[in-house]
């Protein structure tokens, strides 16, 4: 049986799983509805920054306490796909909030979070940058959702078909 993830890793994983899924749904609802736009955008901004903080903690935690190895019986190709998809997930978890922050900076927007507290711009107010980053934010969000679906499908396949302890390592002690 594969050893399990440490408690902190599991906590970060499941907390972020719920928040990222919520964030993706908030994002697509927000940009498709004039009625809901304003109440969703005030959730989207601070939640995005919270996720950026969480993924930074998570990366440090991952480097300090590496995940358990995949089962040795797993075919090499599956292992490569598993590792690549995890680094893609990490890349997107960093990229989405950073591109969001950068795009608001390039659009000349203030970035209020809570109360009068707001973030400084990380890029200059620049039309051309905004025109690249705003669509990039959408494309990356769809890519994250697709990667999430693949991750979910793979996790359930480990749990229900392979029964190799990989899923168990993220849910049990």
């Amino acid at each position: 049986m594969t050893p399990t993830f440490p408690l902190l890793s599991r906590l970060l994983h499941w907390t972020m799983a719920v928040l990222i899924l919520a964030m993706l749904f908030v994002g697509v609802a927000m940009v498709s509805s004039l009625a809901d736009y304003s109440r969703l955008v005030v959730i989207h901004r601070p939640l995005g920054i919270l996720l950026l903080v969480l993924v930074a903690i998570r990366l440090i935690n991952r480097l300090l306490s590496p995940p358990p190895p995949l089962p040795s019986a797993m075919p090499t190709l599956l292992k490569v796909v598993a590792h690549a998809s995890h680094w893609l997930l990490y890349g997107l978890m960093f990229a989405l909030p950073l591109v969001g922050w950068g795009m608001l900076s390039a659009g000349g927007y203030p970035i209020p979070l809570i109360g009068s507290f707001h973030l400084p711009p990380i890029l200059p107010h620049d039309k051309a940058l905004y025109a690249i980053l705003r669509p990039a934010h959408t494309i990356l969000a769809y890519l994250l959702f697709l990667t999430f679906l693949a991750h979910l499908g793979a996790a359930l396949t480990h749990a229900l078909v392979f029964k190799d302890g990989v899923f168990r390592s993220m849910v049990k002690r």
Binding site: A35, S38, G107, P110, R134, D164
Partner: protein, 361 residues
């Protein structure tokens, strides 16, 4: 173990495995469908920012690089001198006594960037107050007393009535008649708008927020408000004969600014309980308390091409802590639609603006 190698083809193709893989696939697809549903793929009648801006482009034609509404305009720079009178009503730093730099834009309502100035177009004043702590307050105001439509759906439907008939070159009057029959609130609002005489220019016009907001004081108490920029320059009615020059309003403004700062009082009209905050077509009673919060001075104009206002989205919900949006559905709609217009135009080449005020001298 049912199978010695769980990753083998023979394990994956067992009936039990296939059933489970099918179940997993169905679950993933269901989640994807929920996502698509949330994104509005299955609800074509949901009014989103895309559809609203598409309609502007449909009615006005495509004018890449320009705002889809209030397309013809000029940038301004100036400052706001707060007298501190409104500090009891809102914690926003802009209301503490002192000076706040302001950039902004004068414009004509409508999506035609090269339209001729004329008495029929609503004039607008958009401002961005740049507070020392980095907070901003953006507001777009019009020189009409109430807004003609009460919600985004009505606005969307009304826009279509402005589409020109290719045969006559004019909108079909029957379309507007039908709209007014279905929207008596718009007919009433238009009566109020027509009853108020338009001023002769940008400098002596009074601009109104139209939508309601809430001021939040240091105790957390909320005060419904509508604000206005009330001109210091004396009111003069529009001339009987419209000048022939297609930029006569903007040229007169530029000439006026050269003589010295043009000023407006920021007047906060405080609503009482029962005053409608969710319906911009309805005026508030005339006797409501008004607080003079300070003086806006417009010191200079710049053409949009080199001006700071061009790449600013005057989203009415960019607000400092101490001002919040009301329950008016137009606010969320403006915010969402402006964002879409901004994203489209920032990705397009910027043709020269119709208004090019000569700087200096």
């Amino acid at each position: 173990m049912p199978s010695p190698n769980p990753y083998s083809f023979s394990n994956l193709t067992r009936p039990a495995s296939l059933a489970r893989l099918g179940g997993i696939g169905a679950m993933v697809l269901a989640l994807a469908a929920a996502f698509a549903g949330t994104a509005g793929w299955f609800s074509p009648s949901r009014l989103g920012p895309d559809a609203m801006i598409d309609r502007f482009e449909d009615v006005n034609g495509e004018h890449p690089g320009f705002r889809r509404n209030h397309a013809k305009g000029v940038c301004l720079t100036g400052s706001f001198e707060s007298n501190g009178n409104a500090a009891r009503l809102s914690t926003a730093p802009v209301f503490a006594p002192g000076r706040t730099p302001v950039i902004g834009r004068f414009a004509l309502a409508g999506g035609m960037p090269m339209m001729a100035d004329g008495p029929a177009a609503v004039r607008s004043l958009a401002l961005e107050f740049q507070m020392a702590d980095g907070q901003q307050w953006r507001t777009g105001m019009n020189d009409i007393p109430v807004f003609p439509m009460k919600d985004p759906q009505a606005f969307y439907e009304q826009l279509a009535t402005g589409k020109r008939d290719p045969k006559t070159g004019k909108p079909d009057p029957a379309a507007m008649q039908a709209f007014l029959l279905a929207h008596p609130e718009t007919a009433k609002a238009l009566d109020l708008i027509k009853a108020q005489p338009f001023s002769s220019g940008f400098a002596n016009a009074t601009y109104n927020s139209l939508n309601a907001f809430l001021l939040v004081d240091s105790a957390g108490e909320k005060h419904p408000v509508r604000w206005s920029m009330v001109a210091v320059d004396a009111f003069a009615p529009e001339p009987a004969d419209k000048p022939a020059d297609k930029n006569y309003l903007f040229d007169a403004l530029a000439a006026r600014v050269k003589q010295g700062p043009v000023q407006w009082h920021l007047m906060l009209t405080l609503g009482q309980s029962g005053d409608p905050t969710s319906d911009s077509t309805l005026p508030w009673p005339a006797d409501r308390e008004k607080v003079d919060a300070g003086l806006l001075s417009v010191a200079a104009l710049q053409g949009e091409d080199g001006g700071a206002c061009r790449d600013v989205n005057f989203d009415p919900l960019v607000l400092p802590w101490g001002i919040v949006g009301s329950d008016d559905p137009l606010l969320s709609a403006r915010s969402g639609a402006y964002s879409e217009s901004f994203t489209r135009r920032e990705g397009e080449a910027k043709p020269p603006s119709a208004v090019q005020p000569r700087t200096g001298g």
